[in-house]
């Protein structure tokens, strides 16, 4: 998941669609994010490359919309509703996720196990189509 700044990034991503839950007057998604280009990347426990300043999911509230959508702790968020999340400040990421006018966020997330799963599936069954999961996720290879 490490990348060279300025070069195109290749990653195996998973699309996750989360419906915002209405709680009082807030719309919540049910997870917490950490990271950003204004933060200290060395303290990120989930990143492999400690200079990675991307946005990571640090906590998932159990039973929330994010958990049911299939988001896992330690996922790196690459896009939110089309907006890039690899080079944003923490505050910008928060804003993109908490727009009041939207009640659905579509995330592109990546995690280490996806890469391995794709390699494994490619290796064993070259013509095998990727499986469909309950949460309407598809596995795609995305070039950002």
């Amino acid at each position: 998941m490490s990348f060279v700044p300025g070069q195109p990034v290749t990653a195996v991503v998973q699309r996750v669609e989360i419906q915002k839950l209405c709680q009082g007057e807030n719309l919540i998604l049910g997870f917490s994010i950490g990271g950003g280009i204004d933060q200290d990347p060395g303290q990120n426990p989930f990143s492999e490359d400690k200079s990675d300043k991307g946005i990571y999911v640090t906590r998932i509230t159990p039973g929330g919309p994010a958990e049911s959508a299939g988001l896992k702790m330690g996922d790196k968020i690459m896009q939110v509703n089309g907006w890039d999340m690899t080079m944003v400040t923490h505050d910008q990421a928060r804003k993109k996720l908490t727009k009041k006018r939207e009640d659905v966020v579509r995330l592109l997330i990546t995690r280490k196990s996806l890469e391995e799963a794709v390699k494994h599936s490619k290796g064993s069954h070259p013509s095998h189509l990727p499986a469909q999961t309950n949460a309407r996720t598809t596995k795609d290879r995305v070039v950002l």
Partner: protein, 635 residues
């Protein structure tokens, strides 16, 4: 020198020897030597030159000649030969030096009470370790003397143009103003005609008791005369017309009197500053002229001479009548003298204060080194400067402390014997020795192991003895206490014997004497401290209320050389060995060395680096900080 030594290094010389030689030759069992072959037997006669005369000079000449031969012989035989020569020389000197030594035995009595007391009591002890130690010292000394004899030859060749011996005799004829910056160096031949410890010590004692050399004071005396002459010249200028042709002088009242006053004060200032700056006993004699001082003396001489010349021709001749002009002339001379004194101050005292060079001084025997900063000096002045600081900064040179015991090193060489099968062996002599050295290096040896354990053992022993010494001294100090005046009157019931410091010291010395002696022997310092000096130091410490620890600091750490000097006005003899002329200034990469009888100080000169100092301005408002963040936001 008054000590005649004879007796050869062979056994048949037993007939003509002083008393100590024959018993030792006859009973080698008394002194079990670590030397493989007893020195009395003519072992390896092929190594001795065929000179039959048993005189010391010849044997020494042979020693020097042998060492100049190419290495046709294995190193083992060279060291063995040296041992034999050293051992033989030692016995010879023991016989010869005994006569001179017994006369001065009491002051140098050291703590050896194992043997009957004689002039070389430390030599006649029967313990094997001290004998071995003495041989080690002996070998070390003879080896160092060999190297220095070789080095000394190179010095006399390389000093530019003027061998040291000629300086005293010929310089006086060449120039008028030669006043005795002549050399006081003892040249090599007289120094190296001795080859053993006793005679060395005898020489040292004699050199320190030679009558005061007059050459030391010629320079200052001449300078003093010159300055005295220069000081009374203005007065002479004033007085002579008054005395000689008083009647025909024009009288001048007020201006002359004003000039008199100013003249008097300037002369007073000259007098006081001369006394303050220049009237000091010289601390060193330099081998060559002190260039600046000579320059200044020449300048003063020229000034005064030219003023006198003018005065004689223009004033005394035609009997000049304008007295005011004469007084002004005298005043101008005093002004000129003041300026010359300013020049002298700058050249002699101030110029070398700003540091420009860094000198590294290393002692050749044990590697003790220090770094100093000096200004622009000539080599000889820098040498004096370094020696000034040597006596305070360097720990005293102890010839008894050697690097590696020979028992460890010599094991490398004893395992090999090289036989050459050719007829002409001289061709591949160097190849032979090189092959031997290479083979010895390839062999696996454990001498580092032995060295390590021996060092550890020695350290343990020293610590043990030190602990015993400290305890003994502490206990001894508890036996006495200072008596205050009111106590003496207040306790008539217990009349205690009141002692002065000397008696008190003697009273408490006895319980600690043995521990002290053992400790000094273990750390090989016994040559530096005699019983008398320890008693004196104890008395000193008691008088000044010092604790046992303060008493012991003198013995637990080897102090600077100054601590061990006896106060003698004769001075120390050092030789300056240099490839450049010694009046040239210091510059980068210069190396010179200062040699004493058994060690030398090697001085390397490097210039101090040029410092480029830059500036950076920091606005005090520009100090800003942010926290390192890792915030977590829930969305």
């Amino acid at each position: 020198m008054g000590v005649s030594v004879h007796g050869g290094h062979r056994a048949p010389s037993a007939g003509s020897d002083p008393h100590h030689l024959s018993p030792r030759c006859d009973s080698p069992a008394h002194h079990p030597l670590p030397v493989p072959s007893p020195p009395c037997s003519p072992a390896s006669p092929l190594l001795r030159p065929p000179s039959s005369s048993a005189s010391k000079i010849d044997s020494l000449r042979s020693k020097v000649d042998l060492l100049k031969l190419p290495l046709a012989l294995s190193t083992k035989s060279i060291s063995e030969r040296k041992r034999q020569l050293g051992g033989a020389g030692e016995r010879r000197s023991a016989g010869g030096g005994g006569g001179a030594r017994t006369a001065r035995s009491p002051p140098t009595r050291d703590m050896d009470n194992e043997s009957q007391y004689s002039g070389y009591s430390h030599k006649s002890s029967h313990s094997r370790s001290s004998r071995k130690h003495r041989d080690r010292r002996e070998r070390h000394r003879s080896k160092s003397r060999d190297s220095s004899s070789r080095g000394d030859k190179s010095v006399t060749i390389q000093t530019p143009g003027e061998p040291l011996l000629d300086a005293e005799s010929t310089r006086g004829d060449d120039r008028d103003d030669n006043w005795g910056e002549t050399t006081t160096v003892v040249t090599g031949t007289s120094e190296h005609s001795i080859s053993n410890e006793d005679l060395t010590r005898v020489t040292k004692d004699l050199e320190e008791s030679t009558p005061l050399e007059c050459k030391r004071f010629i320079g200052p005396a001449l300078g003093g005369c010159l300055s005295f002459f220069a000081l009374i010249t203005p007065l002479a200028f004033l007085i002579l017309p008054q005395v000689l042709w008083r009647d025909t002088l024009d009288s001048c009242r007020t201006p002359c009197e004003g000039l008199y006053v100013s003249l008097a004060f300037k002369l007073l200032v000259l007098l006081i500053s001369s006394w303050a700056l220049f009237l000091r006993p010289p601390r060193a004699t330099l081998p060559r002229f002190f260039v600046f001082r000579c320059l200044l003396m020449v300048l003063v001489f020229l000034f005064v001479a030219s003023y006198w010349l003018f005065y004689g021709v223009r004033v005394l001749g035609p009997r000049e009548r304008d007295y005011r002009g004469i007084v002004e002339y005298a005043a101008s001379l005093v002004d000129a003298l003041l300026f010359i004194q300013y020049l002298a101050l700058v050249l002699l005292e101030v110029r070398h204060l700003q540091p420009a060079f860094c000198l590294k001084v290393v002692r050749s025997t044990d590697g003790a080194s220090k770094f100093y900063r000096v200004g622009h000096l000539s080599i000889q002045r820098a040498a004096v400067w370094v020696l000034d600081r040597y006596y305070n900064d360097f720990s005293v040179y102890n010839p008894a402390v050697v690097n590696l015991p020979k028992s460890i090193l010599s094991k490398k060489m004893t395992g090999f014997k090289v036989y050459s099968l050719d007829e002409n062996t001289t061709n591949n002599s160097t190849g032979q020795s090189r092959a031997m050295i290479a083979a010895a290096a390839r062999r696996r040896d454990n001498s580092h192991n032995e060295y390590y354990y021996e060092e550890a053992e020695m350290e343990r022993r020293i610590r043990k003895r030190k602990a015993r010494l400290v305890v003994a001294v502490e206990e001894a100090f508890t036996h006495i206490k200072r008596l205050h005046e009111d106590e003496a009157a207040a306790s008539p019931k217990h009349p205690r014997e009141v002692m002065d410091p000397r008696e008190a010291a003697q009273a408490i010395f006895a319980p600690m004497a043995r521990a002290m002696q053992k400790y000094l022997r273990t750390t090989r310092q016994q040559a530096f401290h005699s019983m008398e000096s320890i008693l004196t130091h104890l008395q000193f410490c008691i008088t000044h209320n010092m604790t046992p620890k303060a008493f012991l600091e003198r013995y637990l750490t080897p102090g600077p050389t100054m601590q061990y000097q006896q106060q003698s006005g004769r001075g120390r003899q050092w030789t300056l060995v240099s490839e450049e002329p010694v009046t040239s200034g210091l510059r980068q990469g210069l190396v010179f060395s200062l040699r004493r009888l058994d060690f030398s100080l090697v001085v390397t000169v490097t210039p101090l680096p040029f410092l480029r100092l830059g500036e950076e301005f920091i606005d005090p408002k520009s100090h800003k900080f942010v926290m390192r963040l890792q915030s977590e936001t829930s969305v």
